[in-house]
């Protein structure tokens, strides 16, 4: 599903250039569940942003579902994001002035077909249908992250990208989130790529990719 060939990402910082990713090759098959691990500043978030079409590579080729997407315009990338990719962030990133349900609906907003019933279904899947009308501030961290997952899956994307989804949660809520993500992968065959610091969580995945200084240093099958 995902094929990265010689991906390099360089950020200009003033007059100097910062090489964040260097010549990264990575293949991820349909329905795979992959963890990315590495120290802060190793380039793992940049890698996830590139895979998520939020950013463009400076060099190299990126094939998503067999189609090269590395050099598409920002509008075309937005289209891919709206159709194929669901994001789950460390900080949940819910809109505080919207209800849980409205936040989930926002996940379909830019796909062209919004449907309240689907939003309720998605909330049901993360076990929060009774909290539909609560604002994010009225929910616990674990509940907020579950709303965020519902928002990511409501449009039924084939690919979910999670950037340290349990990073801001206590271990019990974290475990809940991981079990939801794992069951999504298991039941619906969603491809899941997850950044994590936690080796225990990484071991729920089928494969762990270790990244350091912008390079993939090791891959490990679980």
């Amino acid at each position: 599903m995902i094929r990265l060939e010689g991906i390099t990402k360089i950020y200009p910082i003033g007059k100097r250039e910062l090489v964040v990713l260097q010549d990264v090759d990575l293949n991820i098959a349909n329905g795979e569940m992959v963890a990315i691990m590495g120290a802060s500043g190793s380039g793992k978030s940049t890698l996830l942003n590139l895979i998520g079409c939020l950013d463009k590579p400076s060099a190299g080729r990126y094939f998503l579902d067999g189609k090269e997407v590395g050099h598409l315009s920002s509008g075309e990338l937005a289209n891919i994001r709206s159709q194929k990719i669901g994001f789950v962030f460390q900080q949940f990133n819910l809109l505080s002035r919207l209800s849980a349900l409205a936040n989930v609906e926002l996940g379909m907003r830019y796909t062209g077909n919004s449907d309240r019933k689907k939003a309720i279904e998605a909330l049901d899947k993360v076990g929060l249908s009774d909290r539909a009308n609560h604002r994010p501030t009225e929910l616990s961290g674990g509940e907020q992250q579950r709303v965020a997952i519902a928002r990511a899956i409501v449009k039924k994307p084939p690919l979910i990208l999670a950037d340290e989804p349990t990073g801001n949660l206590d271990s019990r809520s974290g475990a809940e989130i991981i079990s939801i993500l794992t069951s999504l992968h298991a039941d619906q065959g969603i491809t899941l790529i997850m950044i994590t610091h936690d080796a225990n969580i990484a071991h729920h995945c089928q494969r762990i990719v270790y990244i350091s200084d912008g390079k993939i240093v090791r891959e490990e099958k679980v």
């Binding site: 939020l54 994001r81 962030f89 907003r109």
Partner: protein
């Protein structure tokens, strides 16, 4: 349709989240629009009331008055020339086409006495056509008749103000009064035409023939009988310019003016007067509107300010929306709709407030005001335009935010 509705709801939520801030922003537009509406309504009201007075004279009226007199290179004021004659009036009636009625008149100042009241006023000797030309109606009694005119009867028709001054609330019809040294009988009182300079409310009218007997009417060097002015009505308003041209050339011949001499008379039509008034009051209205528009502009800058703040504040939201697949035009549209919504509601409220203000001005300041549809449409569309114009830059700023940086912002 659905996505438009979504955009609208999103904008509404954005506005409702910051109620006070939105209210203050809207107020800027409200004040601007209200100022435009109420000030322009004053201009339009003045225009309408002057025009209605001119129109009450009839659209088909043309008046000819004496022009300049030049002697030894010194040019006198209007009316200084004593050039118009009864014979001119007759020539116009006979030779110019599309003429309905011609009414020459001769005015002189006289002392009026009735009982213990007296008044120095302008007395005008007129022909029976005068009533038709100026569309005069009597409140009580009647205008003098054709036979009164033929006989030079000493009868008089009073303007409403003159009547009140001389007779207070008494019925003046058939009463005797003095006009200089002559005794005359009142036959009628004219309906009021509103208070404006030259109104017939101040007039005293007697048959032209009687006037000729009372005052020594001057004659011109060619032996014509001098008149103060000639008023006439025409049968086809669309021919006004041609008729004026015909009269001009006829009078120049009558007065034996050389080709290089300037006209010694002046021709005015109510149509022309109406056009002049429309033009000058239109300029005034525009000027008032322009001054008011400055406050609208200030309001617009307020909208831009708030939108910039709003974009800055919602940077992360923009990042989230972009991650969810929002295109630049989605973000751009969201903020533009929000700005337009602010200014549109400001425009609507502003129209209401401005309308109310112009009503109050008319009511308490006895000013004529008129709110016309074109002002309302203009003010509302200008306010929405201001929203789009001043919302454009903040919205564009929002749309081209880098999603990664936007997501990282606090």
């Amino acid at each position: 349709m659905k996505s438009f509705f979504q955009m609208f709801t999103t904008a509404w939520i954005g506005i409702a989240t910051h109620k006070l801030r939105s209210f203050l922003t809207i107020m800027g537009i409200v004040i601007g629009v209200a100022a435009v509406i109420s000030l322009m309504s004053v201009g339009k009201g003045a225009q309408a009331s002057i025009l209605s007075r001119i129109q009450s004279l009839g659209a088909n009226l043309i008046t000819i008055s004496p022009g300049f007199v030049s002697s030894g290179g010194v040019r006198g004021g209007f009316g200084g020339a004593q050039s118009l004659t009864l014979e001119d009036a007759q020539a116009i009636a006979q030779q110019v086409p599309y003429i309905d009625l011609v009414a020459p008149s001769y005015s002189a100042n006289m002392q009026l006495v009735a009982g213990s009241s007296n008044l120095n006023s302008r007395v005008t000797g007129v022909t029976p056509e005068y009533q038709g030309v100026y569309n005069l109606k009597t409140d009580v009694g009647s205008f003098f008749s054709e036979s009164d005119y033929e006989e030079g009867a000493r009868v008089v028709v009073l303007g409403s103000t003159v009547k009140t001054t001389l007779f207070a609330d008494n019925d003046p019809v058939d009463q005797k009064m003095r006009l200089g040294n002559n005794i005359v009988r009142v036959v009628g009182v004219l309906q009021s035409k509103g208070n404006m300079p030259g109104s017939t409310d101040d007039a005293v009218m007697i048959p032209f023939t009687a006037m000729q007997q009372m005052v020594a009417q001057q004659k011109t060097s060619t032996g014509g009988h001098r008149v103060s002015s000639i008023a006439l009505t025409i049968t086809d308003v669309n021919k006004t310019e041609e008729i004026i041209a015909e009269i001009t050339s006829l009078l120049r011949t009558q007065h034996r003016l050389s080709d290089t001499a300037s006209d010694d008379f002046r021709i005015m039509s109510t149509q022309e007067m109406a056009e002049t008034v429309t033009e000058t009051t239109g300029t005034m209205t525009l000027l008032l509107g322009a001054i008011a528009a400055i406050s609208l502009l200030v309001g617009g800058i307020g909208v831009m300010n708030i939108m910039l703040v709003s974009v800055l504040e919602r940077t992360r939201e923009i990042g989230i929306r972009k991650a969810l697949g929002a295109k630049e035009r989605d973000i751009w549209g969201q903020f533009l709709v929000e700005a337009a919504f602010l200014t549109f509601s400001g425009g609507i409220i502003g129209v209401t407030v401005g309308w109310g203000a112009s009503y109050l001005m008319a009511h308490f300041a006895t000013m004529n005001t008129l709110v016309t549809l074109d002002i309302v449409v203009m003010a509302v569309s200008v306010s929405v335009g201001i929203g789009l114009f001043f919302g454009f830059y903040p919205a564009w700023n929002a749309a081209r935010l880098n999603p990664i940086e936007a997501l990282r912002s606090e």
